[in-house]
Symmetry: C2
Subunit: 199 residues, 2 copies
């Protein structure tokens, strides 16, 4: 790209590596960034490096957080005997936005997928089983209603059954094939209310 400077070319390339950003959008973003104020550019760049440097996984639930233990796990007014199992931090955020769930979470950071070679040992299942050694009344499985999510739900249900702890699955109010983070809050709440015990 002789017609672009090296620095612009590099910025376009970096933008184009982000998910869902095609070449045209990458170019548009790059030119927009160059046109932004110096202060705004510094803010953007530092938000990226600071987030990467400071964000880690909560030692208890595995969600992305600034502290060793996330604000939800550290909150004594939440019901720590109710654990909702989700695939990732964005799904946790989706349920938090409903402001109606007062239990805690367990973030698997993935789902079982034979297609992608992701097995039970590749997601945070061991950590979940360890947490069940404390007093837990119910485990609500809120993995996505995709093939991987359903497979994971079945697997977890079988794993927990011997402990005698109640295991439920959020209702199929969540459309089949849907991704939790894109679903409206009312549907998410209905799915939570209509949850059924797994046998």
């Amino acid at each position: 790209m002789e017609y672009y400077s090296d620095h612009i070319g590099r910025l376009i390339e970096q933008m184009g590596r982000l998910p869902g950003i095609g070449p045209k959008t990458a170019q548009r973003l790059a030119f927009h960034i160059i046109g932004m104020s110096e202060e705004h550019v510094k803010e953007l760049a530092s938000s990226i490096t600071e987030a990467k440097a400071n964000v880690r996984y909560c030692k208890i639930c595995g969600t992305l957080t600034d502290q060793e233990i996330c604000p939800i796990c550290a909150n004594p007014s939440r019901n720590h005997r109710e654990i909702m199992v989700v695939e990732n931090s964005r799904d946790l955020a989706a349920y938090e936005k409903t402001q109606k769930y007062d239990g805690v979470y367990h973030v698997l950071n993935g789902a079982i997928s034979p297609m992608l070679g992701i097995g039970p040992d590749d997601i945070r299942l061991k950590e979940l089983m360890q947490r069940l050694q404390d007093d837990v009344d119910e485990v609500i499985i809120a993995t996505n209603s995709s093939l991987e999510g359903e497979t994971t739900a079945m697997y977890i249900s079988k794993l927990i059954r011997p402990t005698g702890i109640k295991v439920t699955r959020i209702a199929s109010g969540v459309p089949v094939g849907g991704d939790l983070e894109y679903i409206d809050e009312v549907t998410l709440l209905r799915a939570l209310e209509g949850r059924t015990e797994l046998h």
Copy 2:
């Protein structure tokens, strides 16, 4: 957003300030960035700050470049007696991709828009008139075929006419209302070949 850490929230906010990036995409990008390797994150952040710090306007044509004079203006094998006037660096890049234009450019960095309060003094017209004091055979006006682009083309044509230099406008192969940077190369070439002299 209690459910997000401050750093994630700040990154999502910064992503959401970019053009065309909605809240969901901003969230998706932020989590993607946190999940990237440290090396890749550093590359991304530095490409942003480096581009902002090193990219400036070419002293001759006004395009964005690393050097004082851009590679096109500095290239002696280009025809410096033929100047194509474009609205911005992306439009220049669009014509460069055709690899068939061997003249030079003049980037206005804008277009006359009474609606937005952008007048002739707000775009690089004085600089264009200065360049015409050297030997120039033809000025090709390749502003967008939008209202602003056409207005700018008419204005420039009237401005140059007294000098006796040939002024042409790229043909209407470019669809009306279209933005140069989104048009395929064949159409761009046809528009160039079919250019007509402005009277």
